[in-house]
């Protein structure tokens, strides 16, 4: 037995507009790509081969499914024209369809099946013709029943849902989520009913999970957040502190900022969609909701190189003024060295830093401040890789800050300048914390260059200490 899955661009064009970053056949339902449900069903029905047929592009699907060896089934692909009806499609796939029975799944439809049931005998015994249909498509059989008993269509304990709006997609996801013992094989580890969690998931102390919930891979849930009930969190998602996500779907690669309540929505990149009406709202402020771009391992090296390069340039520019002005400032008593210990990374490692404070009043000290000479000693640490040139603000190590640390995003690094300085926020307080956490997640090497220049510029304009 083989399966022929026919899906035309017009069937799924609506979802392209709502969720443009993923191929419609790979749209996740509870973190399982739609195509995998079709593959699972075909295997349960006794198929040894599946062919995806479309008048649209299939390369993403091909890239994901490859030849099907992952599921122990042979997957192939072919193209049709938009006007081709079922008979024409079968003629174009004549060689594939010629031996044995073919289960034809046509349209953008979801088949409700149960992994515990065996559909092999049923499909082997059904006669040729349509089995089930709905507004968006149908399930039918081509080819005579195999020898043995004959079954009738009403024996079939399956149903179809046509996927034709975001509301249907949402309700389907919530339905699939709501099974105590799922009729589908869903990704993630599930020791208890109604709860499935992927790999590399960090749930910090103080975060709460309320079932039913499904969480994907590489997810960070930071302190104080409440996930659930009825929440689907995709892969590579960060939910920042004190946010709640309930009756919602958070798609892959999304950042949800602090103190947000996401209820009855679908969040994707920087867009929030209300399922019932289909209305969507784009969040302009990236600190609230944004997409996350993956930072590859090559990029962290680039980041270190870029930081090192910036440090070198700054050192070469600052060295001469530093050597000239330092003796004068020390004599004036405006330059003081002091040592402190800061956390370098979230893992709690500390670093002893020798920094300087500068009183900015009077011509020479203003000049020194404008040139950021007080940061020069730290720049050498950037060259050795211990500090970043710009980051989420150095956190001084003392008993108060330990608790704070565990709720920081894991990509935080101690630094010479802080993002808050670049964006001209006051250095302590809620606003700067938001900025710093946002960039800790979203920073990339080229943005860092821009932010460092902004920080330097802001220092020139900084007011003197009275």
């Amino acid at each position: 037995m083989k399966a022929l899955i026919i899906i035309k661009e017009q069937d799924y064009s609506w979802i392209r507009e709502v969720l443009p970053h993923v191929h419609p056949l790979l749209v996740p339902i509870c973190n399982k790509p739609f195509a995998e449900f079709l593959i699972d069903f075909s295997i349960l029905a006794g198929c040894e081969a599946i062919r995806f047929v479309s008048d649209g592009p299939l390369s993403d699907v091909e890239h994901y499914c490859d030849d099907g060896s992952r599921w122990g089934i042979a997957v192939s692909y072919s193209s049709i024209q938009i006007a081709d009806e079922l008979q024409q499609v079968i003629k174009k796939n004549q060689r594939y369809c010629s031996d044995g029975k073919i289960i034809v799944i046509s349209g953008f439809i979801f088949i409700h099946y149960n992994k515990q049931k065996d559909y092999k005998k049923l499909f082997a015994a059904l006669p040729e013709g349509e089995i089930l249909n709905c507004i968006c498509g149908s399930l039918s059989l081509s080819g005579a029943p195999l020898d043995g008993q004959k079954a009738i269509v009403s024996d079939v304990a399956l149903s179809l849902t046509g996927l034709n709006s975001i509301d249907v997609y949402y309700r389907l996801s919530m339905e699939v989520l709501g099974y105590a013992s799922s009729p589908y094989v869903l990704p993630g580890y599930s020791n208890e009913a109604y709860c499935s969690i992927g790999s590399n998931v960090v749930i910090t102390k103080g975060a709460e999970i309320i079932k039913p919930v499904i969480i994907g891979n590489n997810v960070q849930i930071l302190a104080g957040s409440v996930i659930g009930p009825d929440a689907v969190i995709g892969n590579n998602v960060i939910v920042d502190r004190d946010s709640t996500v309930s009756a919602s779907i958070v798609m892959d690669n999304t950042y949800i900022g602090e103190h947000l309540a996401v209820t009855n929505r679908i969040a994707t990149e920087n867009i929030l969609i209300e399922p019932e009406s289909g209305a969507s709202m784009a969040m302009e402020d990236p600190h609230l909701l944004t997409g996350i771009k993956k930072i590859g391992s090559a990029e962290t090296i680039v980041q270190s190189l870029v930081h090192g390069l910036m440090a070198l340039i700054l050192i070469s520019l600052q060295l001469i003024p530093f050597l000239l002005l330092l003796p004068i400032l020390t004599m004036q008593g405006k330059w003081k060295w002091y040592k402190n210990t800061s956390y370098t990374t979230v893992s709690g490692k500390t670093l002893k830093l020798t920094t300087a404070t500068l009183e900015r009043n009077g011509l020479i000290s203003t000049l020194a401040g404008a040139l950021s000479l007080d940061r020069l000693p730290l720049l050498f640490r950037v060259l050795s890789g211990q500090l970043a040139i710009i980051g989420g603000g150095a956190v001084v190590a003392n008993s108060n800050t330990v608790a704070d640390l565990s709720s920081a995003p894991s990509s935080n690094r101690a630094c010479v300048f802080s993002y808050a300085e670049a964006e001209d926020w006051p250095l302590t307080g809620g606003d700067s914390a938001i900025v710093e956490r946002y960039y800790a997640v979203h920073g990339n090497p080229f943005q860092d260059i821009i932010m460092t220049v902004k920080a330097l510029f802001n220092r020139i304009l900084e007011k003197n200490t009275p």
Partner: protein, 111 residues
């Protein structure tokens, strides 16, 4: 590259064997069909192991020439590598593609 022509179900089938790349594509472009330009043709690619943009261009060129005269070109039996080239460039939208030569010949004339 070897090009051969035969008749199947009253339709001309051009079978191509080998690779269609910048070296061999000009040969294909220059190929003179024994049949009239306005009659349908099926191009059998089952023995084509590799095809690049030159090959693609040659096939598109043949299809244009034929269609301008009221004829048509149908493709049959692409392997994965060939299919991928058609997929990435979206040229699959220009052709009816069959996985079986006989089925292609039976449906070639009908449009």
């Amino acid at each position: 590259m070897i090009i051969s022509e035969k008749l199947c179900n009253d339709v001309t089938v051009i079978s191509i064997k080998g690779t269609i790349d910048a070296k061999t594509a000009p040969e294909l472009k220059k190929f003179e069909f024994a049949s009239a330009l306005e009659s349908p043709v099926v191009i059998d690619l089952s023995d084509v192991d590799f095809l690049d943009s030159s090959g693609l261009g040659a096939l598109v060129g043949i299809a244009r020439k034929k269609r301008d005269q009221g004829g048509n070109v149908t493709l049959a039996c692409m392997n994965n590598k060939v299919r991928k080239v058609f997929e990435i460039t979206q040229v699959y939208k220009l052709f009816d593609i069959y996985d079986d030569v006989e089925a292609a010949t039976l449906n070639a004339g009908k449009k």
